[in-house]
Symmetry: C2
Subunit: 425 residues, 2 copies
């Protein structure tokens, strides 16, 4: 279906047919949801052995009684595992709480209020503070910026990651830029893996940016592959070492989408300067993270081999769901001018771009027919997609049958909205 | 031993004798520690059944899959339990994370940065922000103030709680006072229980203070009684209702000293206005608290009766430790002018006041003899005890035998320092 090449009569025929389909969907009163980037119950059950795994032994291999206070750094073995996941040394790791988002929030907070490299580096002293936001991106990153009144500047995403020409040019011209949000592997929602060249240029930003600039490198999907031989993510820490920019990158990760979404273990990697600032301030805010849960995790996925085996079982559950979405998209839009989409090798999302100006209309049509989609604009700062075209599809949570029904509705909505637009043009 | 009434000869005889004792202690190379207000391994073991208690069922009675994201408020049943502990309605409760200190930190942070009653109420807009600090008090409260540059004003503690005449006079005269730290039951370290009259006056502060003033009411030892029939703490919420000051009090509690110190469940109670501000901002910083751990707690201590039974077992372990400290203090100082101390019915500390100007000297003597005590001044803002007399003794962690040996050293150190001082006078 090529709406641009169709004549008015053809478009009207399509409109009738698609509207009839749509009315059928509406009358069948579906109640489906493709919004939630969260694991299904079956995925969570892969880690059900966590509760009880300690068999009464709460003392870590290093002799720490995990039940008591303390341990702001995390258990040594947990730091080691996190170091392997993020590709750093274990003394560059801090393990904390159940949410990497909280570690990102604290990082922004401490950089804002106290400064990560001394009091003079605190962002609150600056007249304006800006962050670069590769778009489409993750709404919870943007929400942190909005919370602190940090101005967000859109940067385009390419297949290899953020448009680094644009990023470097912006940073060179504007020292009020203090950060950039990155999801380097299976980028949320675009699904791409940043290329080695992109990652080296991100590591190089520390040489051209203000000294209190930080790359917020949210490696949320570090081990979340859908394919057997995934492309490898280049190691940003090695590039930082080469450029002498170790202080300019903060990495984040967690087991939220490995074990339990709400009861996993979060961690961050940073230079000793950054970590010592983080710990100084975090030590005021907490009596230490839940080490018992860290120990549970070590018993279940304490080595990279155990972790990879565990993730392979997630992939088995996720693959048919992603395949179902992609099958619908290919069948409906392969030969069309109606949309473009990603086919990621991992992560949690498929990103779909409608023709410009249609995302909101598609989402409304789908909602009428009982299919909930992520609100238009959610993947952009301030909730504003300038082209009104990006839609994030999250297939992890529903069953394959529900995805199948939801995608039939979705594809019809895309076609109908496109035809409507063309007729109005 | 009354040093004030002793003549020089008597003092010199004592000095010789006490110095000889001290040298003996030093040569026996003890390594004892009375600094740590944390549960002993035996206490922690009372909750060892927590891991595995779910027996594979991660769904709460209300049908929540605790493994997944969400639930910023906490599980309904956990809110109900917290409400009973703190004496409020369950819709005035938020359950979050493993550390009530973190909830206090976030409360100060949000009040500072964003305001708990609208943006205009943010403390950062004020020229000066002050907190009243009843002393002696809890060093971690004071550390939060210091972190944000909040000026701390000492207020004396009486047996019934803070000196409320002083508190009210200060607040009436100074609208830059935005908070007061309170540990109303088994006050840290003084051990007293605030009287009903004190609590009513605390609830009344909202009628005379600035609208963005808050009582930080850290009810850390709400169920931590050592005696069978403890005095009851008056309900501050009821007084607030009577005075129309519901927005002026934030209450905090946790199971850190009920189950696992580092892996318990923390909660706070506040008016709907305060809670909605807390949740608005906390929702940016987290994907929700660990609900699996909440469910574990509900299975073990889900009712007040189960909780009280559990706490009675803690009391059995703590009572001989407190008794040992008190026995030494009574035997050595009952008939003396050398010190005063608390005999708390619960909590974690015994507070000892030396003669003015001696706390630091006593702590140094004890350290020479291998007994670690909390640093002098730690119970005061900025680490400065104006009278250099308060020493916080924490008997929960060591064995009774170790406490016995440590207290012999301590009492000798108090006597020796007192005699030395008197001879130099």
């Amino acid at each position: 279906m090529y709406v641009e090449q169709a004549d008015r009569q053809q478009l009207q025929r399509w409109q009738e047919e698609l509207s009839a389909n749509h009315r059928n969907f509406v009358s069948s009163k579906l109640n489906l949801d493709l919004t939630r980037g969260k694991p299904s119950a079956n995925q969570l059950s892969l880690a059900d052995a966590l509760d009880g795994i300690l068999q009464g032994n709460y003392v870590s291999d290093e002799g720490v009684d995990t039940r008591n206070y303390g341990g702001l750094d995390g258990l040594p073995a947990m730091r080691q595992l996190a170091a392997e996941i993020l590709g750093v040394n274990s003394d560059e790791i801090m393990v904390g709480g159940n949410s990497s988002l909280t570690l990102m929030y604290f990082s922004v907070l401490f950089a804002w209020q106290f400064g990560l490299s001394g009091p003079d580096s605190a962002w609150r002293h600056e007249e304006t503070v800006k962050f670069l936001c590769p778009v489409p991106g993750y709404d919870r990153h943007f929400a942190i910026c909005e919370e602190f009144g940090i101005e967000m500047v859109n940067v385009p995403m390419n297949d290899n990651g953020p448009d680094m020409d644009a990023v470097e040019a912006l940073i060179r011209n504007d020292s009020s830029i203090k950060g950039i949000w990155c999801v380097p592997k299976y980028s949320n929602p675009a699904g791409c893996i940043y290329s080695a060249a992109t990652i080296e240029r991100l590591a190089g930003l520390g040489t051209i940016a203000a000294t209190n600039f930080r790359v917020f490198y949210d490696n949320a999907y570090a081990v979340h592959d859908l394919v057997d031989k995934p492309a490898e993510l280049a190691n940003i820490r090695e590039f930082c070492e080469r450029h002498g920019t170790e202080d300019s990158v903060l990495q984040f990760g967690s087991t939220s989408k490995v074990t339990f979404a709400g009861a996993g273990v979060a961690f961050m990697a940073a230079s000793k300067t950054n970590l010592s600032a983080m710990k100084k301030h975090l030590g005021i805010a907490t009596i230490g993270p839940d080490k018992v849960n860290q120990l549970r995790h070590l018993k279940m996925i304490g080595t990279m081999a155990e972790l990879r085996n565990h993730m392979a079982r997630h992939a088995e559950l996720l693959r048919p769901r992603f395949a179902c979405v992609l099958k619908h998209l290919e069948e409906n839009f392969r030969d069309s001018d109606l949309g473009e989409w990603s086919s990621p090798d991992g992560g949690y999302f498929i990103s779909f771009d409608t023709r410009p100006g249609l995302a909101n209309a598609v989402i409304q049509l789908a909602a009428e027919a009982g299919v909930k989609l992520t609100p238009a604009g959610a993947t952009f700062p301030y909730g504003k997609d300038p082209d009104d075209k990006n839609i994030r599809l999250a297939p992890s949570f529903p069953t394959v049958e529900d995805i199948d029904r939801a995608m039939a509705v979705f594809c019809n909505a895309v076609k109908l909205a496109s035809v409507n637009q063309q007729l109005e043009a």
